[in-house]
Amino acid sequence: MASNFFDLKKRKEAAAASSSSKQKAGQSQAADRPVPWVEKYRPKSLNDVTAQDHTISVLRRTLQSSNLPHMLFYGPPGTGKTSTILALAKELYGPELMKTRVLELNASDERGISIVREKVKNFAKIAISSTSAANASKYPCPPYKIIILDEADSMTQDAQSALRRTMETYSKITRFCLICNYVTRIIDPLASRCSKFRFKPLDEGNARLRLSSIAEAEGVKHQDGVIDTLIKVADGDLRKAITFLQSAARLHGAVVKEKTGDDMEVDGGAKGGEITVRSIEEIAGVIPEKTIDELMQSMEPRPHGQAVYTPVSTVVQDIVADGWSATQVLLQLYNRLVFSDMLNGDQKNRIVAIFSEIDKRLVDGADEHLVTLDMSLRVAAVLGDSGS
């Protein structure tokens, strides 16, 4: 269960080489089998984890003392929660022992109450297997197992409460690590049993460093400002930024294929074109400024007696037909209007109220065309009425 592709690779490497040549082995293997960069550049040790200084330093200390508390990692997506625990487990046990000592369960596994009662409990019960001398000399191999419950916020309340006693009873030989996006979805009794680690969104500097190093390692050519745009659209989510970077590299012919036997070799893109800022925006689904300008213009109050309906409905119809997502329209319009100097506080208040309602409707699955039209017309009404 705990094995994934990444571990397999690691295991093979470990068998073949010592830790110093690991990096190279990984990369040469990745070359003949295309791997998403997100996996390829997943931090391999705690030191590689970007930007979560506080968390890492605490974990590092526990690594030395070989005594781990139960842990609860929380924070927005793409901040390195899963990577951190996997890296930690690897440093603790080494690739060999990880198979037997770590149980990873995530939302793709069945995690009803019955699973917690049986599988988790059974795994927690198992006595610690002994470790070979060779392994013990290289890794700390502390005398407990780790159960990783990824995406724990999608577990039911019942399943969570079934964990409570299990966590305590077997705490001598088992440590739990819960990972979630929203700490509020974890029931209090569980949260109070864990030491909490908050993963904050990546700040610009670190994200830039990481992205540039990946771009360099892959030999991706890019225009100035591409990295900035990536950081902006990804909003602190490093995984998103890396995915976008890779997608853009592929789209721009930065991937050159060479036939060697049956294998397709992926080249870093020395011969391909450059990544442009616009292509990053296109991949991220950002609407061109021009379209938003048109919408804004159509919503401007008209001279007396003219209604805004016709121009607004035309623009909205085009936006919908072009397939722009309504949430994105909402977001970009929001950024425009809230920071606009033309509006007074009262107007902004009313506009934000409209946005919140529209967002709720979109999440509930209402029709995008009607909702966007409604939003535009209501915002237009507010724009026309300065409330003086």
Binding site: E151, V320, S325, A326, A380
Partner: protein
């Protein structure tokens, strides 16, 4: 065979519009293929593009498809029957068919696919592709179940999600996929397609008629082709000004709109209800009814109340999704509309 199916482009090269997008898909198919999330309005050609991309990936083998029926068992021991369209290289599923149990299907099926490697050594790719239709109707649980699966089994599995909007796709999925937007074709592009089809069918093509169809279809190519075929099926001689037959349900909705405008009374609401029920029993989705009715009513009313009508239309459309008996909300909209109109007319009277 309908024109829509008969003349569906089979390869990326034969796609007529968005050639830039086709090139991109081609580049992806020949390189390192990511997970895709394809979104765009209906009738824009999402599915056609994906099928063409699959062909580019695997060659003609993907066209030999068979339909499997599989039985899944939920945790509460309920049996679910689920149809899978499959070729040797890919699977196509519509998990929203099984409603709330889509999570079970996603978990079981995808894992099964993901854990088996490609058997056919001659295959061009080492992974299988799973196409998920109507991904925006997947439940939250099912989407959460996708998250780790997508990363863990990426050597054996690529996903292509098809959706009309990205609003209901959770952020973790969006950050794991390459977003591909398929915009609806422009009116000119539709005209070109219609002309091309007409030529292949050896029909007498009228430029003016094609243009009218294109405008009428609201940039929906599938609809345009169906209308095009209908016109030629119903008339022996086709002229530029041949009337376009609207679909039955649309004709009925415009009739409702006329009735609503003609008389504003509770008795009229009762009459309208019968018609609305008629539409619902013919499986016209309530959202479509409400939307069509709104856009039929809008041209008939004064500019000053249009914004209000849209506001309430959006309001009741939202309610449609939350509630479970559509007729209430449709009727409520009709009643609200009558009230708006009446108030407006009253105000006019006072002015004089």
């Amino acid at each position: 065979m309908l024109f829509v199916d008969k003349h569906r482009p089979k390869t990326l090269d034969s796609l007529t519009y968005h050639s830039e997008l086709s090139d991109r898909l081609k580049a992806l198919a020949n390189g390192d293929f990511p997970h895709l999330l394809v979104y765009g309005p209906p009738g824009a050609g999402k599915k056609t593009r994906i099928i063409a991309t699959l062909k580019e990936l695997y060659g003609p083998g993907v066209e030999k498809i068979k339909i499997d029926s599989r039985v899944f068992t939920t945790t509460s021991n309920r049996k679910l029957e689920f149809n899978i369209v499959a070729s040797v290289y890919h699977l196509e599923i519509t998990p929203s068919d099984v409603g709330n149990y889509d999570r079970v299907v996603i978990q079981d099926l995808l894992k099964e696919v993901a854990q088996t490697q490609q058997v056919d050594l001659a295959a061009k790719q080492r992974f299988k592709v799973v196409v998920i239709n109507e991904a925006d109707h997947l439940s939250r649980d099912a989407q959460a179940a996708l998250r780790r699966t997508m990363e863990k089994y990426s050597p054996n599995l690529r996903l292509i999600l098809l959706a009309t909007s990205t609003a209901n796709i959770i952020a973790p999925i969006r950050s794991r996929t390459l977003l591909v937007r398929v915009a609806a074709p422009s009116t000119d592009e539709i005209v070109e397609v219609l002309k091309g089809v007409g030529k292949m069918e050896k029909l007498e093509v009228r430029e003016g008629l094609c243009r009218r169809i294109a405008v009428e279809s609201g940039r929906n190519l599938r609809r345009a082709l169906l209308m095009f075929e209908a016109v030629y099926a119903q008339n022996e001689v086709v002229k530029d000004n041949t009337p376009l037959p609207p679909p039955d349900w649309e004709a009925l909705i415009s009739q409702i709109a006329d009735e609503i405008m003609a008389e504003h009374s509770p008795a009229r609401i009762l009459q309208v209800r019968a018609k609305l029920y008629d539409l619902l029993t013919h499986c016209i989705p309530p959202t479509v009814i409400l939307k069509t009715l709104t856009f039929k009513l809008i041209p008939k009313i004064d500019d000053t109340i249009k914004a209000d009508v849209i506001k309430w239309s959006a309001f009741f459309e939202h309610r449609l999704h939350l509630g479970n008996k559509p007729i209430f909300h449709l009727e409520a909209f009709v009643a609200k509309f009558l009230r708006l109109l009446e108030t407006y007319l009253m105000d006019m009277d006072y002015d004089f």
